[in-house]
C-alpha cells in the first residue's frame, strides 16, 4: 500500500508539469507563428492543444484514482476523502474543496482549448486564430501553474492517516452536487473563449464584426451552462439547506451571478454591433469584464478574504489570482486604448425608441445591476479596511435595490421585442403592443383575483404578462411565417429564453412575497391543521449508517404520502445537518423541516411548515431558458451578412463554415 501511495502524487504532479510546459510551448508556437506568419510552427499548435488536454485529463484522472483508492498519502484525500463516503459522492469529492476545483478548472479549460483548436483547424492560416489560441494557452498555463504551486492537490499529507472526514456533509446528501459545479465551471471557464478572441481582435486590429459572429455560439454555450449551473445551485440550496430559500446573496452566489450579468448584457448589445457596427468598445469591455469577473469572483471566494458558506479555508492562491486579475485588466484596457482609433463607431442611434435604443437601456440596467451586486459583495471589505469593523450586507440590501432593477428590466422586456431597428412610430407601437399589453392586464386581474397584494409583486405579474405577450407575439409570427423553423435562431430562441426569465421572475416574486410558515408541535396520533392542510405525525425513526445517524419525522400531509424531514448527525464531523422534505406542486410547494432539539424516544416532533407558492416554476423557467439557448444556437433564417461596416470577409467565411 505504501509503495503505491507515492505514485499518485508523483504522477499527478508530472502531468501538471507536462501541462505547464505544453501550454507554454503552445503559447509560444501560437504567438510566434502569428507574428512571423510561419506556417510550419502553426502546424504544431494542434499538437500542443492535444498534449495540454491529455496532461489535464491525466492529472484529473490520477486525482480521481487517488480518491477512489482512498490514497491517504495525499493531503487533499485526507481532507475530503473518507473510507465510508458512498462511491458517487466520493467521485464528486474531488471538486468539493479548493485544490480539486482548480484542477477541474484546468481540465475544462484545456478541453475548451482543444475544442477551439479543432473548430479552427481549417482557419489556422488566419493570424487572428493563432493569437486567440495563444491567449487560451496563456490562461491555461496560469491555471496549470496555480494547480502545480499554490493550489497543489497532490501535496503529501502527514503519514499514518488511514481515514479522513470526507467532504462537507452538506456536499454529500444530494445528487445535485455531482452536476452543479461542473456545469457552472463549463460556463465560467467557457467565457475564456470570447475573451481570447476579443484580445486577438484587438492585437490584430481587426475589430470589425468577424470575430463577433465567430464566437457568438461559444459565448451562448458558456452563458447557457452558467445559467444552468446557477439554477441548479439554487435548487441544491432549496433542497438541502433547509431555510426554504433559493438564493441568499452569498458572496459565492454573487460571484457566479456577476459574470452572468455582464455576459447577458453582452449577448444583447453585440446585436447592435452586428447590425449597426456600434458599441465596439462597450462590447469589448463587457467581454473583458465577464472574464475578469470570473477571476475576481474566484479570488474573492476562494482566497479567504470574504467568508461565506461556500468559502474554502484560507489558501495561498489569493495573491496569484489578484495579480492575474490585475494583468488582465491592465492588458485589456491598454489594448483597447491602443486600438482606440479603429474602435470609433461610425454610426449613430437615431431614436431611443428603437431596437438599438432598447438594447442600450437594457445594458445600462445590466451595468447597474452588476455594480450593485459587486458593491454589496465587496463593501464589507472596504469598511473593514477603512474602519476595521465588520458589517454584513445581506438579503435586505440586495432585495431593496435589485427588485426595482428587475421590474424595470421586465418593462424593457415587454416593449423591446416589438421595436424595429432605427426608429419606431407611435402608430406602430400602439398596434404591436396592443395585445401584449392586454396580456399584462389579464395577468394583473388574475393575480388580484387569486388574492395577490403588494405593489412590487403585482407589477411583476402584470409586466410578466405583458412581456410574455411580446415574446409570444414574436414566436407566433415567426412560426406562422416559417413553420417549425420559426422556433430556432437567435431572435426566436431568445424569446423562449425571455419566457423562461419571466416565469422565474414571477415565481421569485410569488414565492418570496407570499410565503407562509408555521411551527407545528406534532405528536404521534394527533392531526394538526395549517392553511387548510393537515399534518399528522406517523412516527419518529432513527436510521443509523456507519457515517451518520439520521432522525426522521414521518409526516403525512393531507392524509396522503408521508414526508420525512430529517436531522442527520454526521459522526466524523460532529455536524448536524437538517434535511428538508418537500411536497412539490404546480401551485405551491409544502416545505417541511424538522426543528431541533429532536428526541426520538418521545414520539414528538417540532416541524416547521413553509408554503411556497409557484416555487416549482423556478426550475421550469430554468429549463425553458436552457431550451431557448439551445434553440438560439441553431442557425435561424439565413441573412446575408450585409453589415456595411464589415471590414473583412472573415465573418462570411465563418458563417459558411458553421
Amino acid at each position: 500500500m505504501f509503495a503505491a501511495s507515492g505514485i499518485n502524487g508523483t504522477l499527478g504532479r508530472a502531468f501538471l508539469l507536462v501541462g505547464i510546459i505544453g501550454s507554454l510551448f503552445g503559447a509560444i508556437a501560437a504567438i510566434s507563428s502569428a507574428r512571423q506568419r510561419d506556417q510550419a510552427v502553426a502546424k504544431l499548435i494542434p499538437r500542443f492543444a492535444v498534449l495540454v488536454f491529455a496532461a489535464s485529463f491525466g492529472a484529473f484522472a490520477v486525482m480521481e484514482r487517488a480518491m477512489i483508492n482512498r490514497d491517504f498519502s495525499l493531503a487533499y484525500v485526507q481532507k475530503v476523502g473518507s473510507v465510508s463516503t458512498p462511491a458517487l459522492y466520493n467521485f464528486a469529492a474531488v471538486w468539493s474543496a479548493l485544490e480539486g476545483s482548480i484542477l477541474m478548472w484546468v481540465l475544462i479549460l484545456a478541453g475548451y482549448t482543444l475544442a477551439v483548436t479543432f473548430w479552427l483547424r481549417k482557419k489556422m492560416d488566419d493570424v487572428l486564430s493563432r493569437y486567440a489560441l495563444g491567449v487560451m494557452f496563456i490562461v491555461s498555463m496560469f491555471f496549470f501553474v496555480l494547480s502545480f504551486g499554490p493550489a497543489n492537490p497532490f501535496a503529501a499529507g502527514p503519514a499514518g492517516v488511514f481515514d479522513g472526514p470526507g467532504p462537507n456533509p452538506l456536499l454529500q446528501n444530494h445528487l445535485l452536487v455531482m452536476f452543479h459545479p461542473p456545469l457552472l465551471y463549463l460556463g465560467y471557464v467557457g467565457m475564456t473563449v470570447p475573451f481570447a478572441f476579443a484580445i486577438a481582435a484587438l492585437i490584430t486590429g481587426r475589430v470589425g464584426e468577424g470575430w463577433l459572429l465567430a464566437t457568438r455560439r461559444w459565448t451562448l454555450f458558456a452563458w447557457g451552462f452558467l445559467t444552468i449551473g446557477i439554477v441548479l445551485g439554487s435548487w441544491w440550496s432549496y433542497e438541502v439547506l433547509g431555510w426554504s430559500g433559493v438564493w441568499a446573496w452569498d458572496p459565492v452566489e454573487n460571484a457566479s451571478l456577476l459574470p452572468w450579468i455582464t455576459a447577458t448584457a453582452y449577448i444583447h448589445s453585440v446585436l447592435v454591433q452586428e447590425r449597426r457596427g456600434m458599441l465596439r468598445v462597450w462590447n469589448l469591455s463587457l467581454l473583458v469584464s465577464t472574464f475578469s469577473l470570473t477571476i475576481l469572483g474566484t479570488f474573492l471566494t476562494r482566497s479567504g478574504v470574504l467568508n461565506s458558506v461556500h468559502a474554502f479555508s484560507q489558501s495561498a492562491i489569493g495573491p496569484w489570482l489578484l495579480t492575474f486579475f490585475a494583468v488582465i485588466v491592465v492588458v485589456s484596457v491598454g489594448l483597447i486604448g491602443w486600438r482606440g482609433d479603429r474602435l470609433h463607431a461610425p454610426g449613430s442611434i437615431d431614436s431611443p425608441l428603437s431596437r438599438e435604443g432598447a438594447f442600450l437601456a437594457n445594458n445600462v440596467l445590466f451595468a447597474i445591476f452588476a455594480f450593485v451586486v459587486l458593491l454589496g459583495t465587496v463593501f464589507p471589505l472596504i469598511v473593514e479596511a477603512l474602519q476595521s469593523r465588520t458589517i454584513v450586507v445581506g438579503e435586505p440590501f440586495f432585495n431593496r435595490l435589485t427588485i426595482p432593477i428587475g421590474i424595470t428590466m421586465l418593462t424593457i422586456m415587454a416593449i423591446a421585442p416589438v421595436l424595429p431597428w432605427r426608429k419606431a412610430s407611435q402608430e406602430l407601437l400602439s398596434k404591436r403592443l396592443f395585445w401584449p399589453a392586454w396580456c399584462g392586464v389579464i395577468a394583473l386581474a388574475g393575480s388580484v383575483w387569486v388574492g395577490a397584494t403588494g405593489l412590487a409583486p403585482l407589477l411583476t405579474f402584470a409586466l410578466g404578462g405583458f412581456a410574455s405577450g411580446s415574446a409570444l407575439r414574436q414566436v407566433v409570427l415567426a412560426t406562422r411565417r416559417q413553420g417549425l423553423r420559426g422556433l430556432v435562431g437567435r431572435a426566436n430562441g431568445g424569446m423562449i429564453v425571455h419566457l423562461g426569465v419571466i416565469i422565474i421572475a414571477v415565481a421569485l416574486a410569488a414565492s418570496n412575497s407570499f410565503t407562509h410558515s408555521q411551527e407545528l408541535n406534532l405528536e404521534v396520533g394527533k392531526v394538526a391543521t395549517f392553511n387548510g392542510h393537515t399534518f399528522e405525525l406517523i412516527d419518529v425513526i432513527e436510521v443509523k449508517t456507519d457515517r451518520a445517524t439520521a432522525v426522521k419525522a414521518l409526516v403525512k400531509v393531507d392524509g396522503g404520502k408521508a414526508y420525512a424531514p430529517a436531522i442527520t448527525k454526521f459522526t466524523k464531523q460532529g455536524m448536524n445537518v437538517g434535511t428538508p422534505s418537500v411536497k412539490t406542486g404546480l401551485a405551491k410547494d409544502i416545505y417541511l423541516t424538522l426543528e431541533p432539539p429532536v428526541r426520538q424516544d418521545e414520539k414528538k416532533a417540532r416541524i416547521k411548515v413553509f408554503f411556497k407558492p409557484l416555487l416549482l416554476w423556478l426550475w421550469i423557467g430554468g429549463g425553458l431558458m436552457a431550451l431557448g439557448t439551445l434553440l438560439a444556437a441553431f442557425p435561424g433564417r439565413r441573412r446575408k451578412p450585409t453589415s456595411p461596416t464589415s471590414d473583412d470577409d472573415f465573418a462570411a467565411d465563418l458563417l459558411v463554415m458553421l
Partner: protein
C-alpha cells in the same frame, strides 16, 4: 383622425385605467393575517447571525442564530411589541452588528448613495449620447457616400 385610431385611443385609455385601478386595489388591500412564524421570519431576515459570516439569522442554523431566533419568538409570543420594536430590542441586546441592513449614516451610507450616483451618471451619459447622435444623425450626406449608394444601386439592377 380616422375612426380606427380613435377606437385605438379609447381602448388604450381603458387598458391603462384598468391596470391602474387593479394595481391600486391590489396594493392597498391588506395581505391577510400573518402567522407568528411569518413575523419571526420577517424579523430574522434582517438580523445577522453574529457568529457566522454574512448569513442572516433566518438562514443560519448556528447556535447563536438559534438563540436570537428563540428570543425573537419569545418577544412575538408575548404580543407586546411591534416588529420594529422587537428589532430595536434585539439590537440593544446584541449590539448593532446584528443588523443586516447597512446603516444610512457615515461610511456605510455609501452603499446606498453609490448605486443612485451610478444610475444618475448612466442615465445622464445615455441622454447626452442620444443628443449628440441626434446632431450627428442630422448631418447631410457627404458627396462620396451619395456616389457610393448610387453605384451600389446601379449594380443591384
Amino acid at each position: 383622425m380616422n375612426s380606427k385610431s380613435v377606437n385605438n385611443k379609447w381602448s388604450w385609455t381603458l387598458l391603462v385605467l384598468s391596470a391602474v385601478a387593479l394595481l391600486a386595489f391590489g396594493s392597498m388591500r391588506s395581505s391577510g393575517p400573518q402567522t407568528q412564524a411569518d413575523r419571526i421570519d420577517a424579523i430574522t431576515k434582517v438580523l445577522a447571525c453574529p457568529t457566522c459570516q454574512g448569513e442572516s439569522v433566518y438562514v443560519s442554523r448556528a447556535s447563536a442564530a438559534e438563540s436570537i431566533r428563540a428570543e425573537v419568538a419569545r418577544q412575538i409570543a408575548s404580543g407586546q411589541r411591534t416588529d420594529d420594536e422587537v428589532i430595536a430590542f434585539i439590537e440593544a441586546r446584541f449590539g448593532s452588528r446584528v443588523l443586516l441592513v447597512p446603516r444610512s449614516t457615515g461610511l456605510d451610507s455609501l452603499i446606498w448613495v453609490l448605486p443612485v450616483f451610478a444610475l444618475v451618471c448612466a442615465v445622464g451619459t445615455l441622454g447626452f449620447a442620444f443628443r449628440r447622435w441626434k446632431v450627428v444623425g442630422n448631418d447631410s450626406i457627404s458627396e462620396e457616400d451619395a456616389q457610393l449608394v448610387e453605384r451600389a444601386l446601379r449594380e443591384e439592377q
